[in-house]
Symmetry: C2
Subunit: 211 residues, 2 copies
């Protein structure tokens, strides 16, 4: 065996960063220290390369943020577009949207985490918040349609229902560990089962707990 010739180099060590691996490290730092709290200096130290080597890949810190956030948003909107195209009752399309969102969250966990922590101090962040609002509107519309269809409870404002439902989905970033044993599909099943059908067994426990 000759010394690593033709063997792909592992993506560690100094050189050999491409935009993708650089982005992964940047997102990790942003999540740990906050976007505002991370300088290009911090990033260059963490990567073990010079700042100008970073600027070779990307013109600014804000561009790194934009790329990272769009990774998450593009994933979520791809699911939203699929959802819109389905010829099914709204309740099933909503289920599809929840399931797909859990999958994106699990597949792109650091990127979705960053997206959900965005506070809106820069143009990139304000744009991201606007796209999140657009996503929320789609959720509210689906809930409202499912309520009209008689499939979802009508005693709660559709916007509140939508926020509680995606509040549950989004809260996964706080505890989900990709290596923790629970896969995306199992997690999505749990979210769908508890959110749509409720935590209670339906053999009379409803009389005991909240009516």
């Amino acid at each position: 065996m000759t010394a690593g010739r033709q063997t792909p180099q592992p993506r560690r060590g100094r050189p050999g960063y491409d935009l993708e691996s650089l982005l992964a490290v940047a997102v990790k730092l942003f999540n740990e220290r906050g976007y505002d709290g991370t300088s290009m200096e911090d990033l260059s130290r963490k990567l073990g390369i010079t700042k100008s080597a970073i600027y070779h890949h990307v013109p600014s810190k804000q561009e790194l943020l934009r790329l990272a956030i769009n990774r998450a948003l593009d994933g979520l909107f791809a699911v939203a577009d699929e959802t819109k195209a389905r010829h099914e009752p709204a309740v099933r399309r909503l289920e599809h949207l929840v399931r797909g969102s859990v999958r994106v969250l699990v597949d792109e966990l650091p990127f979705v985490t960053l997206l959900l922590r965005v506070r809106g101090n820069t143009k990139v962040e304000r744009d991201a918040l606007a796209r999140r609002k657009e996503f929320d509107r789609l959720v509210t519309e689906l809930v409202a349609q499912a309520v009209r269809d008689g499939d979802l409870r009508q005693d709660i404002d559709p916007a509140v229902t939508g926020r509680l439902l995606f509040g549950t989905v989004n809260s996964l970033i706080e505890w989900y560990k990709p290596r923790g044993g629970v896969g995306a599909e199992q997690l999505a099943d749990a979210v769908i089962a508890t959110s749509f059908n409720g935590l209670l067994t339906h053999d009379g426990a409803g009389d005991r707990a909240a009516g």
Copy 2:
């Protein structure tokens, strides 16, 4: 009408901060910029008082964090203690814990927000995370007992159920506005109804959506 004599001074402007009003401003800043991203200098500028005037009330920035976080934790643990003392089935105690937690979240929104964003870089933060874990354990135990009682669904790990349930509760900090019209009790009703009974109407919609 004489010039404001005997009229209570509003708590703005320079002097007249007590620990409580100082803490409120500090928590607001911590939530906006992050704890690490807020210096005592920033705080003194925001308050319009000198740093030594701040140190008259509190020995350090970390002490402000500790006071703020404990406000939230003490509220949550007061509810937890009530919950433990109730002689009721676990499912009802869990409902009580959820309802009380929503109330604490609404009453102490900035403090709970700060608590839930704590990442654990300082001793104060690590202590807070340890207390949050203790709270989570209590939730998991209640869920496990309610499952054994046959009141909660047994197809999902009690720790996951607990996390999804309090994920929903905690996600309220992302969108709930105290002046937005929905009160604490109404919000708690919505969380209990959707989490325990589910979003679906139970007249056959269950056949359409997730089984």
